[in-house]
């Protein structure tokens, strides 16, 4: 062994000759002048369908099913599309699953960074710190961060093919719910749904929570029930959906995430009364 650590563990030049780098591009010390073209996502491949969320008086409830589709093939049935960030923020992902996994890794590294750098208040030790209310990144902060990542990527013509719902509590511990999509478009509303849910579930959710004032009156139980009912409607009518889903409730007490829920009391009894597109009466 010599004192050049970068050479340790490699084939010895005096036995095997020096490494033949000719096939590598010039930037890697090779001879190849042509570079691989830079590749950008042009379409989503493995996809997740709708994400639903609804604000209530003290928090937010969010749900998404556990299916990742490959076109019309129900490819993976245990993909969890709700990602808790900290004890007061959860992100729900619709769209491309590989881009979701990239963003999840990005958020994990952000969380690690936050835990190292954020001031710890008057905590004396690590044990105290868990008890003291260290200034956590709020759901609003997280949404701003994700929206900027999405907008940057669309501006570079290399979009992350997702529709995100960011929910949780803002810096004043008020319920927060907002979305960001592959174009960097952002908006906020009392209830939100991505993908097919925007057509099927959003009208039902708006009946429960037409405006911010209505969410103040809405209980956690009513909100969860409304979301579960919408998941059922989506399973009836969205061909890229599944009856197993994840649901998370975020409020003052933290994140309560259930990742193996099943739809209950399904019935197609209503179907035999449907004529035409459902609006026909005779």
């Amino acid at each position: 062994m010599n004192h050049f650590p970068e050479a340790w563990g490699r084939p010895r030049d005096d036995i095997y000759g020096s490494y033949n780098a000719s096939y590598l591009p010039q930037s890697r010390g090779g001879l190849q002048s042509h570079h691989q073209p830079t590749t950008h996502t042009q379409q989503p491949i493995v996809t997740g369908t709708s994400v639903l969320a609804l604000k209530f008086s003290t928090g937010v409830v969010i749900a998404a099913d556990n299916l990742a589709s490959y076109g019309s093939l129900a490819r993976f049935t245990d993909v969890h599309r709700l990602k808790p960030f900290n004890k007061r923020a959860v992100v729900g992902f619709g769209g491309d699953v590989s881009d979701m996994q990239y963003l999840d890794r990005l958020l994990n590294s952000l969380d690690v960074e936050e835990n190292y750098t954020s001031p710890t208040g008057d905590a004396k030790s690590d044990d105290d710190r868990a008890l003291v209310d260290a200034p956590l990144m709020s759901a609003k902060n997280l949404h701003t961060y994700l929206a900027k990542v999405m907008y940057k990527r669309r501006t570079d013509f290399n979009p992350l093919w997702n529709a995100l719902l960011v929910c949780g509590l803002d810096e004043k511990d008020q319920p927060f719910l907002a979305s960001a999509d592959l174009l960097g478009t952002t908006f906020s509303a009392p209830s939100m749904a991505t993908g097919f849910g925007a057509h099927l579930a959003q009208p039902l959710l708006r009946r429960v929570a037409p405006d911010e004032a209505a969410t103040q009156e809405l209980s956690k139980e009513k909100a969860v029930e409304a979301i579960k009912e919408c998941m059922k409607v989506l399973f009836y009518r969205d061909a890229r959906s599944m009856n197993e889903y994840s649901v998370a409730v975020i409020d003052q007490s933290g994140v309560e995430l259930k990742e193996d829920e099943k739809l209950e009391n399904q019935s197609w009894a209503f179907a035999d009364r449907i004529k035409g597109y459902g609006t026909q009466t005779v």
């Binding site: 950008h40 996502t41 042009q42 379409q43 907008y151 669309r154 501006t155 013509f157 979009p159 979305s179 174009l183 960097g184 478009t185 952002t186 908006f187 906020s188 509303a189 925007a198 057509h199 959003q202 405006d211 911010e212």
Partner: protein
């Protein structure tokens, strides 16, 4: 890059606002579908300046195609002032078109106006802010911010100042301007009611004797009522406009914000 703009907007929705988007040419064989970085979030904005005030207004609906994203997504932003809430700001920016670009534009102008105060020790004038906004827009001439901006404030003499822009930074100071989805419905109304186009003095004679009425700055109450009328009418005839009307009134006292519900259908 040029080929990017040789296609029309994806046909997922009504897309009334960007009717001038280039149409599809089917000349050179099959063309691959590429990522299109823009969308239209609908909505309309409007600004009118008076002798001692400027009013900016915009509806609060955000759409994508035939869907309503949100019933409250403001298009009016305070520029400058202190902190993230822009306390004490005297300039207001309205943006309509592609909301993500609108937000990015707002953040850039706001940062720039705040930097100006730190560097020069005084508030920026609307005149200077207006020109800087033009430069920001033109700086992205070949990948534009897809927005129609209107900037309002008070000029050095305390008179209402209103500047309107196209997406690549061409701008002029005007008495009034409507922008966005329902601009073609609102602007002719404003031409008639603010600039008194096609209005003649009834006391003057007939035919060639007719005398045009001369436009002069309107009082604040009249302007507020005109804005409300313009939007309630636009809501009736344009599906992308509705939900709420946000108004910002800039006077020497500061910026006063009001909200009026509009039809939600």
């Amino acid at each position: 890059m040029a080929s990017l703009f040789q296609q029309s907007m994806p046909s997922t929705g009504p897309g009334y606002s960007f009717a001038s988007a280039p149409t599809h040419h089917s000349s050179s064989g099959p063309r691959q579908h590429a990522f299109y970085p823009y969308t239209d979030n609908g909505g309309s904005t409007l600004g009118i300046s008076g002798a001692t005030f400027t009013i900016l207004a915009g509806d609060t609906r955000s759409t994508s195609g035939y869907n309503i994203n949100s019933r409250y997504a403001p298009k009016l932003f305070r520029i400058g002032g202190d902190g993230p809430e822009n306390e004490g700001a005297r300039i207001v920016l309205s943006v309509v078109g592609f909301a993500a670009d609108g937000n990015a534009l707002k953040e850039r102008l706001d940062t720039m106006v705040k930097m100006y105060r730190y560097q020069h020790g005084k508030e920026i004038s609307v005149h200077a802010c207006a020109q800087r906004l033009s430069h920001i827009l033109y700086g992205k001439r070949f990948f534009p911010y897809y927005v129609t901006a209107i900037l309002g404030g008070l000029d050095d003499e305390g008179k209402g100042a209103l500047y309107s822009y196209d997406p690549v930074g061409s701008y002029e100071r005007e008495q009034c301007r409507a922008a966005g989805a329902a601009s073609s419905l609102i602007m002719p109304f404003l031409d008639n009611q603010v600039n008194l186009k096609n209005q003649y003095d009834p006391a003057s004679g007939e035919g060639l004797e007719k005398v045009m009425r001369v436009p002069e700055p309107l009082p604040q109450e009249t302007v507020e009522q005109l804005v409300r009328d313009a939007f309630t009418s636009a809501v009736e005839r344009h599906i992308e406009v509705g939900d709420g009307l946000q108004m910002m009134i800039i006077t020497k006292e500061g910026v006063q914000e009001t909200f009026t519900p509009l039809k939600k259908d």
